[in-house]
Amino acid sequence: MPLYFSEHEVVLPGQLLSDDGRRSGEGTYVADGKVYAAQVGLATIRNNRICVIAFKGAYRPQVGDEVIGVISDVKPNGFDVVLGKHLTGVIRIPDRRKVQNLGLRVGDVISARVKESSLRGIILEHTRKMRRFDKGLLISIHPAKIPRLIGRRGSMINMIKRMTGCRIVVGRNGLIVISGPSPAQEFAAVTAIKEVEKEAHTQGLTERISKLIDSILKGGVG
């Protein structure tokens, strides 16, 4: 089946991408058995599915995503977690004692995995991988830029971690927790991340970010 786009081409809503409706992936839709783009973004093929990587747009939770949120309510059987402008997730724990044992309070920042995202809402896992952050900076960037921040196989984020010496946890929903040994290093990490967000679409970004971090760490405030 032919494709009507070249790899990483900018596509627009309504643009025909393929005649094979079974290959429709994220950011696309099927009409009359054909695949069309639903968002402005870059067309690409991922796992043999045609996807559009959107430039902008709200975060849509996928099962298995690691997200960061702020506890907004503690209930007898779980917690409400604010994940961003329009999203609230829930953690359901059937055992009341366990809720108390977790010791979470309103305002605590946690990271967790998405267990379910459906009409019933966004349900987060509480068993594995859930953790609370005791210290650090909570910053937020546009969720669409998260893949760029992580980079190919984590190249970008690992470089920032390595150079600044900070621990950085990235939530798919756009929230990021940074904690480092000194405020200066934390500042360098925040500046680098904000720069990635701003310049996500440009060439040679990894190198420039590396230089940016270097200059901040060396010369105080860059």
């Binding site: 990483h8 900018v10 627009l12 809503p13 309504g14 025909l16 950011g27 839709y29 009409a31 069309y36 639903a38 968002q39 402005v40 973004g41 870059l42 690409t44 990587i53 959107a54 430039f55 902008k56 747009g57 709200a58 849509r60 402008k85 329009h86 009409l119 669409a144 893949p147 760029r148 992580i150 980079g151 190919r152 196989r153 190249s155 970008m156 996500a200 679409h201 440009t202 060439q203 040679g204 970004l205 990894t206």
Partner: protein
């Protein structure tokens, strides 16, 4: 004021156009910083901003729907957009236009992607010279695309009408006021489907298909300009792993 002559013997309209010509069009995407998506569209002297916010929490909460987003739309003319100051607030006309524009946009936006949220569209006419609803709709669909909201197609809109007994494309204010008919049409061009059609005045059964064909021709041109405007904003391609 008595009716001015709208078309000369040579077929030239008040602003120098032929019957099938659009006004000079300018489109820009992402013009407002604080909205999630925005656009500015100019059809001759008609100038319109559109801004999109959302998906965001619905307020008041009981209006939210469990299985899809709600679309809010406000079409508004600034008080300085017309010759005689328009009082602040929504007139009946603006309320109606907000509704028809919302219904047109609802046909293409995938609302079921964002349950329990609202997507808010604000259309602000800063200068009115005829065709504000079509210009507003054109701008709103660009702003939605800019906000990254999934949609089946862009919407392009234009008015056709009858002035001095002749069908013309893209009416301006004088032609609208003194002409015999004004018919705004909006389409999702990819699927050739009409999402808005209103008619003010009279045209005959024979003229209707001709008017529709004329509008379609204009819409295709507007659609091309819309795609160009969006591509212009997002032309730079990112490197590395996305």
């Amino acid at each position: 004021m008595s009716k001015p002559k709208l078309i000369t013997e040579d077929g030239i309209r008040t602003d120098g156009r032929r019957f099938d010509e659009l006004r000079p069009i300018r489109m820009e995407v992402g013009v407002l910083d604080k909205s999630d998506g925005s656009a500015y569209v100019e059809f001759g002297k008609t100038r319109v901003f559109a801004a999109v916010f959302g998906p965001r929490e619905v307020h008041p909460r009981h209006l939210s729907l469990p299985d899809r987003a709600i679309l809010n739309c406000r079409y508004h003319m600034t008080s300085f957009s017309v010759e005689e100051r328009k009082p602040l607030g929504m007139t009946r006309r603006e309320v109606e236009l907000s509704k028809v524009i919302r219904e047109a946009l609802e046909t293409v936006v995938f609302l079921e992607e964002f349950p329990r949220t609202s997507i808010d569209i604000y259309i602000e006419v800063v200068q009115a010279d005829g065709g504000t609803r079509t210009t507003g709709l054109t701008a709103a669909s660009l702003a939605l695309a800019d906000a990254g909201i999934p949609m089946a197609d862009l919407i392009a809109a234009v008015a056709v009408g009858k002035v001095d007994g002749q069908l013309v494309l893209d009416l301006n204010d004088v032609e609208d006021k003194y002409g015999e008919a004004d018919m705004p049409i909006a389409m999702a061009p990819r699927f050739n489907s009409i999402v808005l059609l209103q008619l003010n005045g009279r045209i005959s059964k024979d003229e209707f298909p001709k008017a529709l064909a004329l509008a379609k021709k204009g819409i295709m041109e507007i659609y091309r300009l819309q795609r160009e405007a969006l591509k212009r904003k997002y032309s730079a391609t990112p490197e590395g792993g996305m």
